[in-house]
């Protein structure tokens, strides 16, 4: 493999890491409040609100059921307006974050729902305000679950970023298509796949380790 190819692999990897990292961060920042909102506005929860609950649920579901490839194309005007261009790594972040936020919002909602309702009731009996219940009990108790959910999101963003790369976003996907498919260099294709596999495994491993460290005590569920 030539040194220019190695350089290309290196910079494509960096682009992928940036794409995945930035879009994960944005998705998590929007996804957590959304997931929390979905949970607490539900019936008989901390702040029941049928209208908010149903409309947020509807938007999240709509966004989740849109195929990524369609989202990729349809948000181009938004991307142009936000980033100034519709191609390149920065531009790819927009559709990636947009697809991942509602997805991770549901995962976060599930993780928060795993917190034993009795502990929330106990907090109320101790005189906690709703805000305190969320910040002192619900979120801290859900941390391992939230990390697991984030890991799942990052892993699926690695896959999605390869697709975004193929339509002009750069990164490993882009490289794989250009060299492996269009110029028929199976070696490059294999290297790209290997790097993606390594990346996914590294993310999963780090996530699992973190969850293990965060689940205090021996037999945490």
């Amino acid at each position: 493999m030539s040194s220019t190819l190695l350089d290309a692999l290196w910079s494509a990897s960096v682009e992928t890491l940036v794409m995945v990292g930035v879009s994960s961060a944005i998705a998590a920042i929007f996804g957590l409040p959304l997931g929390l909102l979905l949970l607490v506005t539900g019936p008989r929860h901390l702040a029941p609100h049928a209208l908010v609950h149903r409309s947020v649920g509807l938007i999240v579901n709509a966004a989740r059921s849109t195929p990524f490839i369609i989202l990729l194309v349809s948000v181009i005007p938004l991307t142009r307006w936000l980033v100034g261009t519709s191609i390149g790594t920065a531009a790819a972040v927009v559709p990636l974050a947009l697809a991942a936020a509602p997805f991770v919002a549901r995962l976060y909602e599930q993780a928060l729902r795993q917190v034993d309702p009795a502990t929330l009731e106990a907090a109320r009996s101790l005189g906690a305000s709703r805000r305190q219940i969320v910040t002192r009990v619900l979120l801290p108790e859900a941390v391992p679950g939230l990390v697991t959910a984030t890991t799942v999101m990052v892993v699926s963003l690695v896959g999605a970023s390869a697709m975004a790369g193929a339509v002009g976003g750069g990164g490993l996907g882009d490289l794989g298509i250009r060299y492996g498919y269009q110029r028929f260099q199976p070696g490059v294709m294999a290297a790209v796949v290997l790097l993606l596999v390594l990346l996914v495994n590294a993310v999963q491993w780090a996530g699992d380790r973190l969850v293990q460290r965060l689940s205090r005590g021996a037999a945490s569920t």
Binding site: E121, L126, G127, S129, R136, E141, S215, R216, G217, S220
Partner: protein, 347 residues
Amino acid sequence: MLRVQGLHCAYASSRGRVDALRDVSFEVPRSARLAVVGGSGAGKSTLLRCLNLLVAPSRGSVQVGDRQLTSLDARELAIARRQIGMVFQHFALLHRRTARENVALPLELAGLPRAAIARRVEELLDRVRLRDEADAYPSELSGGQRQRVGIARALAHAPRLLLCDEPTSALDADNAQHVVALLDGLSRDLELTIVFVSHQLEVVRSLADVVAVLDGGALCELTPVAEFFSQPRSPAGARLLTPESPMKLPHDLVSEARRRPGVGPSTLLTFAISSNDATSVIFQTLSRQPSLRLDVVAANIESRGGQSVGSLSVLIHGEPPVIRAALASLEERAVTMEVVGHVVDAA
């Protein structure tokens, strides 16, 4: 110390409206220990949760000390709740906090300075004898130890009233006994008023001063504990004392009767049996009305200390006025009974 008046509580559920509490009124003096007993779904947990307004009653008032809880806004209520400790069946501890950090939670929530929290937490851990386990996580503690953490947490703000929902049901006999002894000691040392729910008669016997029996959301009796065990005043109370062979009343019959309160052409009655001649009094009185037909639906009577105790459920068929007259003469003879309600098509 605690005064409950005309408490009603209704849940909206998929089955429609469920009246979990119906017009419950009682008072508990300072340092008294009240056991709330009753069958499954009788409304015990709901009653307990109404006492610190975790569940909002649909009517009625709750007064703790000189504070009328039912007239407070959310902020005031949160502060008032610090004066009411609560202990849970499954402990409800935070899994990611150590025993010490769990006990500190209520003090943190109140915004106390860190040094004061640390001092108070050590005191509390000493009280429940958990010094050595202070840095263990709940998953590393036994059930009894977890419940002691739960009790220490409930005592953090030195409450005058402690509410316990089946505090020993999840524990084995040994641990249950330790927890009972701890609560007993605490109530004496701290002049703590305790309201607790329990299915376990031994726990009721050793901890309660007064027993409140709930049935179908209604308070059937409020009886000093010794008297309750020798002579319960209500059929529901009598039923609870013979739990070894619980009466198997046909469920649909009871639920239909409950939906149609009062006397009808087929009326379901439950009698409390507390003496040897009780059944003969009942049958003699009823047989004086030859137009009435009787079906014994269920009976559960056993001998205790030479006396028959238990309960008897019958369906009486006949003209409602005749049935009412028969009930009146039963009442004259001081028979304890409950009109469960009436059913339509039970021939």
